[in-house]
Symmetry: C2
Subunit: 572 residues, 2 copies
């Protein structure tokens, strides 16, 4: 795209709202020594910060991030998680799909509109660079002339993640090895990039021998204390960028009222604590109505895998108490890690706020996507309808737009799987195939996806998978245990007030149904947000009317076959 | 380059010698778990091998390596060390100079002629991928109708390297940090990728408490035993791909006759042991004239840095003794690590074989290149004439060929440095600048380079630097201590029978003089072959008549500003 092209686009975008601004950022991504949990390692930092800088904007604003890759030999991209990228699918920041990785030393400008208030985040989407720490928060406030549908006196933001002492590069190599080496449980849970590995803030309440943290407060791994005044209502924005972990969040002694999910308003409901899966974001309101002479714990705990990681902690500090004052009660405990019912009950409380868009009542195409763990040539992989995704070298957006042959499997992957498949048992034939075919969606059609979970390779094991869709929100129509049936759809789907989300879990041995309208020209990944699962094949790709996509910057496509195409005609 | 173009080029090349062959290889580069010294780590492997496969060819052959990058997020290139790449400067495999890094998933074909028999090797030349283990041997035998100028009954090949337990990626980050973190001494020395860290083959001769290795022989770190028959003469080809270490090689009880240096025949001379610096290669002849009932040690030891690394060992096995039979004498000991005189004496014995090309008696341009350690904005760097090289994003070969602006500093770096500079002291002003300017050389001119060593940042420290020139052999005209003077040139230069080499050391507080003719159109790096030194700026770049370079494959240039240029005119 020429400079003039960009200017014209910006001009066009800027007319959407007279109040809207273009918010420009210059970022450089580089490795940095850092101690996220008190043990020094290396993080992928932006402008010397880990996590990366928080972007705050208002609805209708244009974000323009000039990203320079200062890594030494690795490419990089950044995905703006939850932003639908209408008109700018090339800015989705997904390697192999929306653009080529930005080469070391090179700069790429992401320009896109944030069209909906909410709690979002951004992260690397190449290899396992999210695991390396490449993430940060993206908060979109309502436009100046608009109001949120709830009141609060102040707000805080918690970006949750998990952290390994082994580098994500080594983890990647482990996962890609034969025999497979699993990455294991994280060493620490981080809140805004801070956790404690060798000590605990709540050692005095613990039976373990971990010592009490002795912190000045300026350590890289010291918790970010949340300072509140008594008798106020606060909004806590929370997003999970974990590589693996499902989490449970609690504020000791305080109820939480959930008001937003993945950038969508929902009907407020109250909980004692809440599960949050990788790729999800929520806003909760809490009122500081407890004894003001105490501080309180804010805790995160591992769920859905047998926990081997200490809980993440910080302090809710009632001013004017000292921030470092230890709460008088022990930190909140989560539900049992494998009490999936607890999580299902939570999910079933989420409804779209009155006035939210409703789903079409009919679908045009329904996918049944079987989630299985498989083997290919001795490698351990995840597969969808028996195909394990390997990303192509040429981004789909370019290869489809320019009609390039041999860039990916032109045969569509199957829309469904055998009715005979027994989801309660390990795959009878665990061998699946590699593939990178695309589901081509017709414009404006309504798409149903039924995620069908199943037994993994080992007996009596079925794992949760938080599935994330790019380019769209979807309505969550329902959940169920066991095999999905057409009857389930007829009897249990909520077409009245389903919530919009961009990430949803499929529970062990269960199914989850969602619906969206294919009205966003581009190519969009739909994948398990557990980074090591995606890395070994757990995703599919949707293409929507790529011929309608305009203004793809050629700079986004100077790799693979599009790169060769550009170079081909050139004089030698 | 089109397929037809490649075919035509191959056809053209193949007419050079009726006997010449094209030798085709398909390689994939990927990470692999490996235990080079008994401690498991990760290596950069080729086709599942570490070190990479040995290429054997004959003079006049064309090598064609179809290299596929199977790394996950990193680019890659391979440099063919010692091959001048006449007519194929785009195949030199030097990132930022001759080509763009090959993106993950992509394939690039290196096609070049090996025009001179000798002992060569190949290695990564992007970031510190050589340190990661990306190297292998390249042996060029004389053409079928030709003979070597010496006799031998058999030959062996030893590729020497050094190995760290910290990944080269972490090392790179350490070196690029502020404050600087030095990588330290290697954990092990490797011969053909094999060393022993937690045990010694010669523990019984050692005073240390390291245990004797108990090896079956099939371990990844078991030494490659050299099997010989008594009373024969063998050729040992040896090349050093070390990241850091200068080495001394010895064969217990056997004299070595040096006959080849860096792919050039030299006047044979005999030594007890020999130094070999990173980037050098030699052939030596040895005769199995010792007591045939014993085996003998082959050893490598660290030189020129205070050794903290155990010697590397393997066994010279006189058949029919058991290969595992331990020699009766202790392994050879090297000269003192800082006995530079020993090494200078060795170097001064090297003369070109009678009949070798002689240097022009006059030079057209003489560079005096001051080697200093400096600081830039708090970063520790090496600088040449006060400029510390930072590689540009766009390969010089493309940016010069296509006349692209702003791809690199157009101002030439200085040809010389201040006469007042006191090489015996730390830099009075240690601050230097980053730069990536190029020395433009006129066609067919004779170039002198005087490498002038100096004191590093710390008092009384001056390090050795093995300088390697791409695209050329050079004549080594002389060496000296202290400041180089014009008088030195007049009185000490050997213009009669200097050896040709491609790598030469400059000793502490000394100078080394070399001469070459700028008759190879292309862009060529000249740099310290110590990988962490190059990584922090120790190199310069020569360009020779790039307008004469033909047939650069555009695929080599689909990054940076050349990539943008290709993409620019394309229809959107």
């Amino acid at each position: 795209m020429s400079l003039l092209g960009i200017l014209l686009l910006l001009l066009e975008l800027s007319t959407i709202s007279a109040m809207a601004k273009t918010r420009q950022f210059k970022w450089r991504v580089e490795y940095m020594h850092w101690s996220p949990d008190g043990v020094e390692g290396v993080v992928m930092a932006i402008n010397g910060k880990f996590p990366g800088p928080t972007i705050r904007a208002r609805t209708g604003d244009t974000i323009s991030v000039e990203l320079t890759n200062k890594l030494l030999t690795e490419g990089v991209v950044i995905h703006w998680h939850g932003i639908p990228q209408r008109g700018t699918p090339w800015a989705d920041g997904t390697a192999s799909i929306s653009q080529c990785p930005i080469n070391p030393g090179e700069t790429f400008v992401y320009t896109f509109i944030v069209d909906k208030a909410g709690t979002y985040f951004y992260h690397g989407h190449y290899g396992m660079q999210r695991s390396a720490g490449l993430y940060g928060s993206l908060i979109v406030e309502v436009a100046k002339d608009e109001k949120e549908p709830f009141h609060y006196d102040g707000e805080f933001n918690l970006l949750l993640s998990d952290w390994w002492h082994k580098s994500s590069q080594d983890q990647q190599i482990d996962l890609s090895s034969k025999p497979f080496r699993w990455i294991g449980e994280p060493q620490s849970l981080l809140m805004n990039g801070r956790g404690q590995f060798n000590c605990s803030l709540a050692a005095q309440f613990s039976k373990s021998s971990v010592p009490q943290c002795k912190l000045r407060g300026d350590e890289q791994y010291a918790p970010q204390i949340i300072h509140v005044h008594p008798n106020k209502t606060y909004r806590l924005r929370v997003a999970s960028s974990t590589a693996l972990s499902s989490l449970n969040l609690a504020i000791g002694g305080h109820k939480m009222v959930v008001v937003e999910a993945d950038g969508n308003y929902i009907q407020p409901f109250s909980v004692e604590n809440m599960d949050i899966y990788s790729g999800e974001s929520y806003s909760i309101l809490f009122t500081t109505d407890q004894n003001p002479s105490n501080n309180y714990w804010i805790s995160v705990n591992v769920r859905a895998r047998e926990p081997k990681t200490s809980q993440g902690l910080t302090i809710l500090n009632y001013i004017p108490n000292f921030g470092s004052k230890i709460p008088i009660s022990p930190p909140p405990l989560p539900p049992l890690w494998n009490d999936y019912n607890y999580s299902k009950v939570f999910y079933k409380k989420i409804f779209g706020l009155i006035g939210s868009p409703k789903p079409p009542t009919q679908y045009n195409r329904r996918f049944l996507l079987l989630n299985t763990q498989n083997r290919i040539e001795g490698y351990t992989r995840w597969a969808i309808n028996n195909i394990s995704l390997v990303f192509p070298t040429t981004p789909y957006l370019g290869s489809i737009k320019y009609g390039i042959n041999n860039a990916f499997d032109t045969k569509s992957p199957p829309d469904t799987f055998s009715k005979d498949y027994d989801i309660m048992k390990p795959p009878p034939n665990p061998n699946s195939t590699y593939g990178n075919g695309v589901y081509m969606l017709k414009f404006n059609t309504t798409i149903d996806i039924i995620l069908q979970n199943a037994n993994a390779l080992a007996e009596n094991v079925s794992e949760i998978h938080p599935w994330h869709l790019h380019g769209h929100n979807f309505w969550v129509l329902g959940y169920g245990d066991g095999d999905f049936t057409t009857e389930d759809a007829e009897t249990t789907f909520n077409l009245n007030n389903p919530p919009l989300k961009n990430t949803i879990v499929v529970f062990p041995y269960g199914w989850t149904a969602l619906r969206f309208v294919a009205n966003n020209p581009g190519v969009w990944a739909f994948h398990c947000h557990i980074e090591p699962h995606l890395h070994i094949g757990m995703g599919v790709v949707f293409a929507e009317d790529v011929h309608l996509v305009k203004n793809i910057p050629n700079e986004a496509l100077t790799c693979g076959l599009t790169g060769k195409m550009f170079a081909k005609d050139k004089h030698k």
